[in-house]
Amino acid sequence: MSEIERDEAGPQANYEAFLAEGRFMLQRAGSTGEYVFWPRVTTPSGATDLEWVEASGGGTIYAITINRSRKGSWNVALIDLDEGVRMMSTLPEVETAEIGARVKARIEQAEDGPRVVFDLAAEDAA
């Protein structure tokens, strides 16, 4: 998506286009400094002057489960990003991890396209 097309598209399409370029971007309101995730057209407080900023990639595991099926198991986690917003994701390299553990984001090429996943941060991976 070119810059002009991007301006005309909605927040979801923009987020996905950034992801396709290998960038994990979050929305932040210029007026209030609030971050919002998942991408949308307003913050919870009503600010609409949203701009895209690079996510720091740092986060903490808020909750985690392992989905188990005959076809295999995978974890699904809620990650509290350092920017103060929460997202659903997964830690592909481990079966599970402790709630409260520090994690670091990376973009993974999954079957259905790029997605943000997390690894245990160096201090917790030891």
């Binding site: 979801q12 995730f37 998942w38 991408p39 808020y62 909750a63 985690i64 489960t65 392992i66 989905n67 188990r68 099926s69 995978w74 699904v76 986690a77 809620l78 929460r86 997202m87 659903m88 994701s89 997964t90 599970t96 709630i99 409260g100 999954a110 259905d112 396209g113 997605r115």
Partner: protein, 384 residues
């Protein structure tokens, strides 16, 4: 503007269920129809007397249209608000408002499902959330497992305490001949059940059954003409702050904190006056969360609260006396069955599981992934 209270404005004068458990050979609408006909008949009314229709199902995009057509009704007022399993607690409030406003005179609230015999899996029209899809959550269980994981990490809640919820439900189900899952169940069996989404195992999940339910409400001043023991609507409250579990502000605190307070205030009732507490137990963690959020114990203490059979038959607090979604019936949207049990208990028709002098009951419905929370308070004539 101050709220005009709906306390005591309407009453349930007919209530019925159909196809509870397994009903092979019947469609969802056929089961709903059976329940509706029985409820209307019990109220001493004809189907054509119904002029208000309130419905939600997991298999009809336009449930009130389908119900109206199927039963040959010509309602003046209808409302198909779908907030998942909590829809029917909300419908009690909507029906009461419509009755009080004179927009209808006889309201039918109804639901039906054949999900067990149709496929054996939870039927849902719930659309996937795009920001969750890359991670393949299996809702609803993934969401409830995440909430359970957080409750355990934050408050030390244990799998043994979750098991106590399942065992209490089975204890009640064993006193209810209509309950689908009956028979002995041990803590070891619960704890060794197949893990589905850690920390929730198969034994922490509600049943997948068929089932339909319906009730008829009229204005309270007319209730005694139609029914020997009307069950009065005393209050209801709703609260909803998220759709996706990702957007739930605190996974250990549901909006039941607000819906419950609103319902109790309208009903002018105190928690300690409640004889029966019906909580939407789609998963064992629900019962613990709702006991806390509705104020029966402090936040974080729900796990310890359910220990030692406190909510089982003979325990301190009568909770889910039909056996709940865990052991009695769960056709996908369970909310109307909470009301059916409260009506049976208040009328004194609950057989072996009848609790003594049941005058006041709370029904708490949950919809989505701990999303919509709707609480209704019902009472006997003595509570008016």
């Amino acid at each position: 503007m101050s709220e005009r209270s709906m306390r005591g404005k309407s009453a349930i004068v007919g209530m019925a269920t159909a196809g509870v458990g397994e009903a092979p050979g019947f469609s969802a609408m056929e089961l709903l129809g059976q329940a509706a006909i029985a409820a209307v008949g019990e109220a001493g009314l004809k189907l054509q007397d119904i002029d208000g229709v309130f419905a939600a199902t997991s298999s009809h995009a336009f449930p009130t249209m389908s119900v109206v057509e199927y039963l040959g009704l010509t309602p003046r007022f209808f409302d198909g608000t779908n907030v998942g399993g909590s829809s029917f607690e909300l419908h009690l409030l909507q029906a009461t408002l419509a009755l009080d406003a004179g927009l209808c005179d006889a309201a039918l609230v109804c639901y039906g499902s054949n999900q067990r015999t149709a496929g054996g899996k939870l039927v849902s029209m719930s659309e996937p959330q795009w920001h969750e899809m890359p991670y393949r959550p299996r809702h609803p269980i993934t969401a409830y497992a995440l909430a359970a994981s957080r409750h355990m990490a934050q408050f030390g809640t244990t799998r043994e305490q979750l098991a106590d919820v399942a065992l209490a439900a089975r204890g009640w189900a064993n006193l209810n001949p209509e309950a689908f899952a009956r028979g002995p169940l041990t803590k070891d069996e619960v704890l060794s059940a197949r893990m589905v989404s850690d920390p929730l195992s198969k034994a922490d999940c509600c049943l997948v059954t068929d089932g339909a339910a319906a009730c008829v409400l009229v204005r309270a001043d007319r209730a005694k003409d139609l029914c020997e023991k009307p069950v009065y609507f005393l209050g209801a409250g709703a609260a909803n702050y998220h759709r996706s579990i990702v957007a739930m502000p605190d996974l250990t605190v549901t909006a039941a904190t607000d819906s419950g307070q609103r319902a109790l205030e309208m009903a002018k009732a105190g928690r300690d006056e409640l004889d029966l507490v019906m909580l939407y137990d789609a998963f064992t963690i629900n019962t613990i969360l709702f006991l806390e959020d509705l104020g029966f114990c402090p936040k974080g203490e729900g796990g310890r609260f359910v220990e030692d059979g406190r909510i089982a038959p003979g325990g301190e607090l009568a909770v889910n006396t039909n056996g709940g979604g865990l052991s009695c019936v769960h056709p996908g949207m369970y909310g109307l069955f909470l009301i059916a049990e409260a009506v049976a208990q208040i009328r004194g028709e609950a057989g072996e599981r009848q609790i003594e002098d049941c005058e006041l009951a709370l029904c708490h419905g949950n919809g989505g992934t701990l999303s919509s929370q709707c609480t209704a308070i019902l009472g006997s004539e003595a509570t008016l």
